[in-house]
Symmetry: D2
Subunit: 164 residues, 4 copies
Amino acid sequence: MGKYTKTEVIGVVFSKLKPDKTKVFADIGCGSGAVTEFFAPYVKKAYAVDSSVEAIKQAQERLKKFENVEVVCSDGKEFLEKHDVDIAFFGGTKGIESMLEVCTAERVVVNAARIDVAVKVAEKMREIGIFEEIVLVNVAKSYELAGGLAFKPLNPVFVVCGEL
Amino acid sequence: MGKYTKTEVIGVVFSKLKPDKTKVFADIGCGSGAVTEFFAPYVKKAYAVDSSVEAIKQAQERLKKFENVEVVCSDGKEFLEKHDVDIAFFGGTKGIESMLEVCTAERVVVNAARIDVAVKVAEKMREIGIFEEIVLVNVAKSYELAGGLAFKPLNPVFVVCGEL
Amino acid sequence: MGKYTKTEVIGVVFSKLKPDKTKVFADIGCGSGAVTEFFAPYVKKAYAVDSSVEAIKQAQERLKKFENVEVVCSDGKEFLEKHDVDIAFFGGTKGIESMLEVCTAERVVVNAARIDVAVKVAEKMREIGIFEEIVLVNVAKSYELAGGLAFKPLNPVFVVCGEL
Amino acid sequence: MGKYTKTEVIGVVFSKLKPDKTKVFADIGCGSGAVTEFFAPYVKKAYAVDSSVEAIKQAQERLKKFENVEVVCSDGKEFLEKHDVDIAFFGGTKGIESMLEVCTAERVVVNAARIDVAVKVAEKMREIGIFEEIVLVNVAKSYELAGGLAFKPLNPVFVVCGEL
């Protein structure tokens, strides 16, 4: 399994961020744009933000079908200092703590593959008074095996949730 | 943990049903209405259907805030024979196989707590040519323990997915 | 992840079979012999049984260090009809139901990757009055990622347990 | 589910500690003695150590059937400074880091319910050069529900493993 956020895990993130058509959403560290693609139909506006030029190219291609999506090549912290967003998702692992400090979103979710990152992000959220919970997500998907159904697991993800 | 569908699991179901404002959604065996409550803002119309009078009372109370929700006290199969729906969720366990036979939704998800039900539903979906996959969902939620964070697991769920 | 039974999963199987130095153990469908290798030091005698000549070659090589292990190239059912064993493990998927019928072990465990096999084996165990439980095992192992620790999941296994 | 270590999880711990009849085992923070009870038949000698008088009473009762078990009411660190053990299990959460510093066992396992403890223990093991891996264990056990089988999950456990 690759590194992009899987649909089922995005579903869990969605259930914690509870987007609606009045909300501005930011996908910080958007990579190829899978999370923004999922969220775009359900929000007023979505920003897909990444500091990698290559990621931005992929995201632009994938997200050009949406009129309410803006793809931004930027450092996440700088972006958050300049833009007001209502709900925010952080998919990457670098500098999240300093981003959380400047983020004014009412709800944030950080997906961490690394257990040490999950703990640090939860501590930072506690420090700034927004920590809600960590949701540990283990999902496996069936595939056909010898006429029956066996399961292939996705990598476990720590979904760290904050709320103002 | 009780019997209603938990928010995180609803998120996974949502990610498989991919609702939008053009879709009519049916929540068959809606119980107290948690799944319909989650879906209502994202669909054109939602039906919350249950044959239990008590469940319907709870669902009516919970869902009265939505203009696009209709709460229906009915057997699931009879409901599906009379109504066209685009996406459907089955949360209960009785008679799902015969309901699937009359269901014309383009995407369906059946949540099974029981492994034997999951297998039977997958077989029925295969028989009628709509089986896509079973997603096995294990979610645990953090809680504070002695100043740190431990995890309480939700019951594992077999999310059986079909697509026309 | 390959197809042999992983150490952590063998540990769970061990905890259900509770071997000791008075017991004769059979590993039916032993493959390369990983389960027998784990059990051998803890039992009086261990049989590693497989009908595949290739598997038997690998098992012989791996298990030659044990004096109390006998590697047998045989159909599982035929083996069980001829030998008395106290505890038995079934790692394969073919013909397990008919093997269970002739098996006189006081405790048996069947590892199923396939959900349909798990259900069928549980039903067969119920029929012959030995079903105890299915243990659903999800294990993930850490690996180093960018100086921290992320997790790689093993395939989920249904550990079906029977007891006379 | 209560706080003692469940049999299936003990099985995973067993698979990492690989006891045998030449080994001296210590169960530090033994509580009511479930882990020692499991290990005792497979080791030369087992120490069940706890600083709680109440725990020691329960452990003594549970473990009196074994001739090779010594139940010790002691602080874990003090015990480890005075005794040579080959393999050690830590089930509690207090002071594990300082215990690891004085522990000379060739293999150690720490079970952590808390994610922050898991990370700190892994860091300490790295610091003293014994860290091997964290195994994340999610187990669910079937129970009968309406004639079929549903699953009740055990609490997730972080099994932190070290090896000299």
